[in-house]
């Protein structure tokens, strides 16, 4: 049995962590309110309609969360150009063969659980990064279809920027369908994402779960000597 000395590595900067949790909260709220908008619960009520505004509030919360979600996403894109090397946009978009090699390695070792040399990714591993990139595209789909639907009932210039969306897809019918299906992709992503965070913490013991609150991961001393993380942020 070996013993390791661990070194504290600052991986997730504060803006990244804030982005992550704002995003998580927004998505949870958007999914719950969105589901309710699609399938409102049956409610027994004896009074008059003007006495309550339940569905109005659900929709209001959905729209507010949507704005937060949108601007938070815009901020993250910006941070992909100014943040540290773990936040850089190159973590998400494959630009070289090494990226694809790592994706394949993660798939073999972590997902298919084939025997082989354990690998180390301090920030996002390549497969995770690429999955996040796919999710960013889903964000975009959800923003375009959602604000496209919202544009008809809003005077905001933000929503107005998406007023073309219904025309692109042939009308609100199609937009709503895409918006609804994509919500489920978010839910599936969240399930797998949370599981894999626990998985990595469990088999690697480097503090994967807590890294998104403090920003630190704990990397073995040998790593710094044997295989330094050569990928430096491009100047």
């Amino acid at each position: 049995m070996s013993t390791h000395k661990l070194r504290r590595v600052f991986v997730w900067e504060l803006p990244v962590r804030i982005y992550h949790w704002v995003n998580a909260l927004a998505i949870v709220v958007l999914c719950i309110t969105g589901y309710l908008i699609g399938k409102p619960p049956a409610i027994m009520f004896g009074g008059e309609a003007h006495e309550r505004y339940l569905f109005g509030w659900i929709r209001f919360i959905h729209f507010v969360s949507a704005y937060i979600f949108l601007f938070n996403f815009v901020f993250r894109i910006y941070w992909g150009f100014v943040g540290n090397k773990y936040a850089d946009w190159k973590n998400f978009i494959p630009t070289n063969r090494k990226y694809f090699r790592e994706m394949w390695e993660v798939l073999r070792i972590d997902i298919l659980q084939l025997k082989g040399k354990e690998h180390l990714s301090v920030g996002h591993n390549a497969l995770a990064g690429f999955t996040y990139f796919m999710m960013f595209l889903m964000f975009l789909v959800q923003i375009i279809t959602g604000f496209g639907l919202y544009a008809a009932m809003s005077h905001s210039w933000v929503a107005g920027m998406f007023a073309w969306a219904p025309y692109l897809f042939g009308g609100d019918f199609a937009l709503r369908q895409i918006h609804h299906i994509t919500m489920w992709l978010f839910i599936l992503f969240a399930i797998i994402h949370i599981y894999l965070v626990f998985y990595h913490d469990y088999v690697e013991g480097r503090g994967e779960v807590s890294s998104m609150s403090g920003g630190w991961k704990f990397i073995e001393e040998e790593v710094f000597v044997e295989e330094p993380q050569t990928e430096k942020k491009p100047a």
Binding site: P40, L54, P166, G170, F173, M183, W184
Partner: protein, 371 residues
């Protein structure tokens, strides 16, 4: 219906038919209101109808059921039918013209030549494109052939109804005749789309009066519908909207909530996705519209409404999974499958990576003793 050598103004024609000036002004005020004009717009409309000679109209019928014509001649104000349609405007329309055969075709040809660049082309119905267009032929010529020729000399092209605007039922899957809406066949030409199955008669009259009054086509939205009538969703002008905002819904037809007049959202009302003037203009002299009679809107003025799942289903079937599936059912199944996959993966992890995990645990326990 023959061509007149001199063209009288709309007003003159009206007076000849026995309408008073008061009737005429009432009509102008009504139409101006539908068009959403301000008060001064009434005099603009009146002035135009008094002074401008009638605009020749060619009204073509292709793959359609004539419900647009029916709707038009039943629009609330009698002058609409009398003046815009019956009495003077239509030089060629299969449904109403007296001439037939070669005479009728000659009528159309005369109008096209004499009023080149001046006539308004109205089209009811879609155009079949499969099998060289044999599914709809008039006078031995295909619809497409006729359409292209007549459209070339038209001052404005109006696509009446959902057939001409977006294909409607003929173009629903599998669309054996290759039914195609007009704008896809007239590349480059601005087509005024007036969708609906049928469109509201007052809306049709309003579009024509706009062209007569201002000599231009009305302001259109991104897909070519007049903004005056199609910029709001049925939902936005629905009198049941307060029930929607309160979260009070009809759960099934004829339940207690239906009797109370709650919102029809959950029994498939497509009002929130449908752009039309039904909630404001209503139908049959402003008597009612579907939602008012307890039936949800099924979005007849929206593209592809026949293919967008059941007319009474709010959630559309998930593509490729049959009619009973919707995104929620498939999504729930996928989430359960994911959960099973995760459980399997977790078990496999403990087996395949047992040594790795054991080392971590032992190292941790060792350190714990030392502290």
């Amino acid at each position: 219906m023959s061509l007149r050598p001199t063209r009288a103004s709309y007003y003159e024609e009206l007076r000849q038919r026995g309408y008073s000036r008061r009737d005429f002004l009432k009509f102008c005020a009504t139409v101006a209101a539908y068009l959403g004009l301000e008060a001064s717009g009434v005099s603009q409309v009146a002035h135009a109808l008094e002074t401008k000679p009638r605009i020749p109209v060619i009204w073509l019928h292709f793959q359609e059921c004539t419900c647009c014509s029916e709707s038009f001649i039943r629009s609330s104000h009698p002058i609409v039918a009398d003046i815009l349609l019956d009495k003077l405007s239509l030089d060629y329309t299969e449904t109403l013209m007296a001439a037939s055969g070669h005479q009728a075709e000659k009528c159309m040809r005369d109008t096209m030549e004499k009023y080149k660049g001046e006539y308004v082309l109205c089209i009811e119905g879609s155009v079949p494109t499969e099998a060289d267009g044999v599914y709809c032929m008039i006078g031995g010529r295909t619809s497409l052939d006729i359409l292209k020729e007549v459209a070339a000399g038209a001052k404005a092209v109006i696509a009446w109804g959902s057939c001409a605007s977006n294909g409607c039922v003929q173009s629903a899957k599998p669309n054996p005749t290759g039914a195609t809406p007009i704008h896809k066949l007239l590349g480059g030409t601005t087509v005024i789309k007036v969708p609906g199955c049928p469109p509201i008669g007052e809306v049709m009259a309003g579009v024509l009066v706009h062209i007569i009054t201002f000599g231009t086509i009305p302001e259109l939205d991104g897909i070519g519908r007049p903004k005056a009538f199609y910029s709001k969703r049925v939902h936005d002008t629905c009198y049941r909207r307060p029930f929607y905002d309160a979260g009070l819904f009809v759960e099934r037809f004829d339940d207690e909530n239906a009797q109370k007049g709650y919102c029809l959202y959950k029994v498939g009302c497509k009002g929130p996705l449908t752009y039309n003037a039904c909630g404001v203009t209503k139908w049959n002299n402003g008597t009612s519209f579907p939602i008012q009679s307890g039936h949800g809107c099924f979005g007849c003025s929206e593209e592809g409404y026949w293919d967008a799942g059941g007319l009474y289903l709010r959630a559309q079937p998930f593509p490729g999974f049959g009619i009973e599936s919707d995104a929620d059912k498939i999504g729930t199944a996928a989430a359960i499958a994911t959960g099973v996959g995760i459980a399997a993966h977790a078990v496999m992890t403990n087996i395949r990576k047992s040594r790795l995990i054991k080392n971590l645990v032992e190292e941790g326990k060792e350190a714990e003793k030392e502290l």
